[in-house]
Point group: C2
Chain length 434, copies 2
């Protein structure tokens, strides 16, 4: 209305901070589901989460100011779930189920606060770790990643003028919309937003989610971002993550405990959740080993989320296993979520169409694809492969192997031990982009 | 970020409508409390609501375009309670009570839609009526008034340039803040926002509410606006209104029924609500008549809301009645809500301090006080005295007398009949400003 809002301008100039994460609900839904399970079954376990930048060529200490990073992390530590958010968590229906969160868990959550962090520099990277009770450190994963990624974007755009920025976002929107146009030619596709952790920024993720909502309609199943799900009346989506078998394996005292760890956490899960939440994440220590040792009841679960094998190859192996177990894959669900973009989504969809139910969790290439959008070359806008993983549990080292050796995490000697134990038959090295 | 957001500009230019009321929660909380009672106890009663502009010198047909008015009313008819809003109504605590709204009522509310309206012109005014079931027409009162008042503001500001607008709002903010400064010298004051119906605009009401929240802190008890209560984590406040005794009186078939009508609806109310919701609104047919005929249990209620007598005079009469009934006024609550501004609030507060509990529902002079703010004389910014009242119930005429004959509504012959029946001993004509 007014050409320049003087009060707003002065207020903005005095800003101490433009927070990246402004709500504890600005996280992935699966963190809350897992948190309830951890709180219920593993309240005394310590688990340290650590940031790992797998893109070694990007030196984060060059791109992100330490003071700014600390201010952002401190800001999130000050957050609490608001009254409105608590009411929504208690009252909303998730996966068709009311009151998925128990009253005693919600009462505990109402006072939840993120614990302290440890931050230092080493070889051009930040060593950012979150030690403490698993019930608290687990909640750092998503905000920590979102903060690192958005601070990188801000640095990359810091010197751009208004026109360059205008062109940047115009191109990014055009690019995103052309993806929407490709996707909507397949009305049976089911796609969801899994892009919180590696997003360009919160506002850009919101734009992408709203674009999908308008653009592909019923093909858009929902978002993993709980805040966006609440604010845009979308389904909040997500099930469980590698941290469950990783912690269970780290705590194992015997070979038998170690072998059973990936199935034990599924049984834990099944104490709390059912139906479409019964999704197996098979690749923590290699999918082949997982399937080879799996008890029969695993085939009764609703579906699998292959997360590190190439989607067609990984999907075929799971389908073959279902058939071997006497199950009809047509009644099963495969959730693909690793490094997807329109081409891989459509290729996978056409490959499996009619043979299995499918759903695609679209992440980094949805919420952080600015390749070719900047009016000049800006490498800081390219997403990096960054994760925040459990590094130890009760003082014992934690390991993830995955189906792709480049995605393995943990101390090298421990990774070796796990590889010998679980086998390497599934390993096919792929380039890790995101 | 960008100097001009081209996409936004083009989008804005293509706007068909800038809706005044964008949510069914953008209403007064008491409407929802009353609605639950009406739905439970009077589901088959028909009640017509009618717009009444008591400021005859303002010709609304000159100030508001009929087509625009229709578009705004039609827009509100298309609204539904959103999923988030329904969850909040079910999960929030109101007046310290959980689940104040019963599940069967909420299930009905989920499909609620405003019924059709009738709009014509007469003598320079709009005749805007809402015929239909009471369970539906009652919900028109607040959005209808908010729309009329905000469309008036828009017309008044239509030809103002950016600098004039900047000055206008700057002065209005300064004026509002000086009120805050006066109020906060009395930390025991309890003030709430009752200004939805006659607000300058939704955004301005929000600004005023946020200013009070920051400015007077604990002295700000909450807001009657349900949407603002939800979005700003404030208490939603309000109890009941004249429509309850008005409909009960209109439906009365005998003199005894008519005499008992104001008390019968209090008994109805008490079937659903208790505690701080037990507030008597005594003036529908004159406070003196109400007190004279009141059964003893009325003195057990938590408090009174004198709504049309001068506050000190009206309060004294109620205190005297409590004393006569053997009650200690110190344990009772008076809620003042008629035409308040800082002066009357402070004067009343100082007068009764220590003798009775008090609360002030601040309306038009909170959310629509632009007197002296425009850089030129703009009469369209002066608030008008406009209401939306029950005009008949099941085809029988409805009447309100109040303690101020200028606030009486209803057909003149019916008003006469009620005056003869209830008496006129309390009538002292006052100027009605808002």
């Amino acid at each position: 209305m007014t050409k320049t809002d003087i009060a707003r301008r002065v207020y903005d100039n005095a800003w101490k901070l433009d927070p990246v994460v402004r709500s504890l609900l600005d996280t992935d839904f699966y963190k809350l589901l897992m948190l309830q399970m951890i709180w219920r079954l593993y309240p005394e376990v310590d688990a340290t989460f650590s940031l790992i930048n797998r893109t070694k060529t990007v030196l984060l200490t060059d791109e992100i100011d330490e003071q700014e990073l600390r201010e952002q992390l401190d800001y999130v530590r000050g957050l609490r779930f608001t009254k409105k958010e608590m009411i929504w968590l208690a009252g909303n229906t998730f996966y068709g189920r009311k009151q998925i969160f128990a009253p005693d868990f919600l009462a505990w959550l109402a006072d939840f606060q993120l614990p302290d962090y440890e931050l230092s520099r080493r070889h051009g990277q930040y060593e950012l770790t979150f030690p403490g009770k698993w019930t608290h450190t687990t909640m750092w994963e998503i905000p920590a990643l979102a903060i690192i990624n958005e601070l990188r974007s801000r640095t990359a755009m810091k010197d751009m003028g208004p026109f360059a920025l205008d062109v940047l976002y115009a191109r990014a929107k055009a690019k995103m919309w052309s993806k929407v146009e490709q996707l909507r030619t397949y009305p049976d596709l089911r796609i969801s937003d899994f892009g919180t952790r590696r997003r360009h920024s919160f506002l850009w993720q919101r734009w992408c989610v709203e674009a999908l909502k308008e653009g592909i309609g019923k093909s858009f199943s929902g978002t993993s971002n709980v805040l966006l799900a609440m604010d845009t009346d979308l389904e909040a989506l997500g099930t469980n993550a590698h941290e469950l078998p990783m912690v269970a394996a780290a705590l194992a005292r015997t070979d038998q405990d170690l072998r059973e760890a990936p199935y034990k956490v599924l049984q834990d899960w099944n104490q709390l959740y059912g139906g479409n939440l019964l999704i197996v994440l098979p690749d923590a220590f290699g999918t082949a080993a997982f399937l080879r040792n799996a008890p029969g009841w695993v085939a009764d679960w609703t579906g699998f989320r292959p997360d590190s094998a190439p989607p067609i190859e990984g999907g075929e192996k799971i389908i073959a296993w279902w058939q071997k177990m006497g199950r009809d894959p047509k009644e099963k669900l495969l959730i693909f979520s690793d490094g997807l973009d329109v081409e891989t989504i459509l290729q996978t969809y056409r490959h499996f169409r009619g043979r299995v139910r499918m759903s695609f969790g679209w992440g980094t290439n949805l919420t952080n694809d600015f390749a070719g959008c900047a009016p000049m070359e800006i490498s800081g806008l390219n997403p990096i492969s960054i994760v925040c993983k459990v590094s130890d549990a009760n003082g014992r080292p934690a390991v993830k192997l995955s189906d792709n050796p480049r995605k393995a995490t943990g101390e090298p000697s421990e990774v070796e031990r796990y590889l010998k134990f679980f086998g390497t038959e599934d390993f096919a090295e792929q380039v890790v982009k995101v």
